[in-house]
Symmetry: C2
Subunit: 429 residues, 2 copies
Amino acid sequence: MTQLIWAREGRITEAMRQVAETEGYTPEEIRDKIAAGVAIIPINKGRSIPARGIGEGLKTKINANIGTSPSHFNLEEELEKLKAAVDAGADAVMDLSTGGDLKRVLQTVLNNSPIPVGTVPVYRVIGELLCQGKGTAEMTADALFGEIENQAKMGVDFVTVHCGVIQSTVKTLAGCERVMGMVSRGGAIMAEWMAIHKEENPLYAQFDRLLDMCVEYDLTLSLGDGLRPGAIHDAEDRAQLSEMMILGELAKRARKAGVQVMIEGPGHVPLHRIAGDVKTQKRLCDGAPYYVLGPLPTDVAPGYDHLVSAIGGAIAAASGVDFLCYVTPAEHLHLPSIQDVHTGVIASRIAAHIGDLEKNLPGAHDWDLNMSKARRDFDWEKMFQLAIDPELARSRRNQSEDKERDVCTMCGDMCALKSYTRATEAEEK
Amino acid sequence: MTQLIWAREGRITEAMRQVAETEGYTPEEIRDKIAAGVAIIPINKGRSIPARGIGEGLKTKINANIGTSPSHFNLEEELEKLKAAVDAGADAVMDLSTGGDLKRVLQTVLNNSPIPVGTVPVYRVIGELLCQGKGTAEMTADALFGEIENQAKMGVDFVTVHCGVIQSTVKTLAGCERVMGMVSRGGAIMAEWMAIHKEENPLYAQFDRLLDMCVEYDLTLSLGDGLRPGAIHDAEDRAQLSEMMILGELAKRARKAGVQVMIEGPGHVPLHRIAGDVKTQKRLCDGAPYYVLGPLPTDVAPGYDHLVSAIGGAIAAASGVDFLCYVTPAEHLHLPSIQDVHTGVIASRIAAHIGDLEKNLPGAHDWDLNMSKARRDFDWEKMFQLAIDPELARSRRNQSEDKERDVCTMCGDMCALKSYTRATEAEEK
């Protein structure tokens, strides 16, 4: 049984009740969104964490990618990254580890995460082959499905599977004049495997096998966009759209089987294409929740891609994106540090909140209004409490000379709010 | 004589020639933009710095505000801020000092700035009154005009004057249900003065006196938006629009007198109102260059307002804004530090470049394309050179374990670009 099957049968689960309460809806409204497939609750049947909903009419959610790599592996640091992500307000975390004892890392993340955990199972399959001096050629379909099932048993809440990287879409890609080709690790692995074995992608060819596992564990599918653009030059070409059409078909099959599903999106996208991309996804995938990485509307700012991603993410969320995968300041340079995780989550939360303002979600405008009232009243304590990163706001203010006064060092006594108050008082005389 | 008068007479100045060269236009095209008032070259006739153009079809420019305050005053630090702004790529700097020996600070900034320098002259008038234990009530119109003339003589390239804060617009403001009232320092000072003296704003009442000074020194006017919103709740109300209409009338009078003029804009604006605000300004002010602060599409992120401002600034620039005033991470908390100046300029430059991509300006797309090609080719040196902040990108990469390899610590050997290359090679076999 899955949340989707229960919803379709009219039943309201505890998870739906929790989501209803945090989002300001009735349990029936949440149930109907789940039943229609426009919202999901990624929670493995073996997990006991607070349920979080992703989808239409719900608060825009944030995912933080953590994980080791072959040249940077430290389990303690991963746990600190997990804590940093949760503390900064992430709604989900993906363990994308590719270095060290991958099963142990994932088990530790699952044991310690109070938020849904996602993975890309093919990473572990390939990661272990690489450790043995082997490569993608030696991967078998059974090993891949076996790993997905293992992870479902361990309690993983959602998995990214690159089912849309198939013979036809890869051929379409070959005919596109891309600068960057493929930039999705999982997608490129599947393409390499298919090219070597001259076979169809097993995740596509045996999609029903995947669906059976998902139903058993209520494992949510995140249909990966292996053909996403890695440069704004490459955005929204035939390759990207041909894959999205396949993902739309697969999403339909998943829902029919009772499997919760969301769709992944780009990536590098020019500003004026972001809203259109979201509308196209919603159309082609029948309103399935959209989970985007970025998007990044320029390629030239390594070191600031969290900021670039917040620009694209705000517009994406305002246009209907449901779930933002964060991008950290380390993107395009190296594996993120603990501080990068914190900064990345906050940047994405800013984008998500701007999206929520535009979606006119319950409570979104009150947050800004209350902050502005606190500002007007020089109520610094309240400003800190309301700040998206209270600790940072407080510590910055406390480093300044005017920390004990009501004004700040920007204007001191030449404060506009005070001048205007005097102006209105003089006016009334 | 001013650049505008020369342009209108058909003459091409050295400044126009310089702008034409850096922007990729013919000198005649630049002259015609200046003559039409849709572009300006803020350069005092007494200054010898490279000319920079601001306006339609030209690269989106960035201003960095620096300056002392009564509780934070250090001339050396101001010079370092100036250097940080210039090094990070600012196109103009405003000395907004309100603490210490203001004339000396301004003279030092002018002597050391290779980019146009702007000021808000009323700050010095009030700053010196505050030092004498006096206040706004003691300001005289003659002192204000005298200060503007002093600064024009010193070589200031552009001044913000709050000419639109007049009896009628302040009355409109009083009827609006704002949370924040007035948040413009200069605007609030004028409102307070008017309320105390029961007189019209002298900058409006004696606007021709201002224009005469501007013609003499080719001082560019930046018509300040004293009634700009200080909370997204307050954006685009009748007060803001009534002031913009006045500024449009004054811009027309300025151009008629041969004075170069731009219009200042907000501030705190919800995402969906940004594009409309720009279009309204262009309509009401006959295409005069638009110079906005931010805009900030949410109020809740003190400590990250550079990022919030980059979100709003990218959309504003994409919608036609010509000149972005940076916002630093210190906004709403304290006076910016040297590091804040650097971060603020880079954040604004990212927004400006995204705007330039959307404006489809010469060379804008090539930058991203070249970066993506360098990424595809694992050409790290070229990536650093092309990065918007080369030093940061280089130093971050150099801190990582894989700095000597072609790959990065994010993926190591599980690199999508490498997998896809192997895939295409296998495909060809």
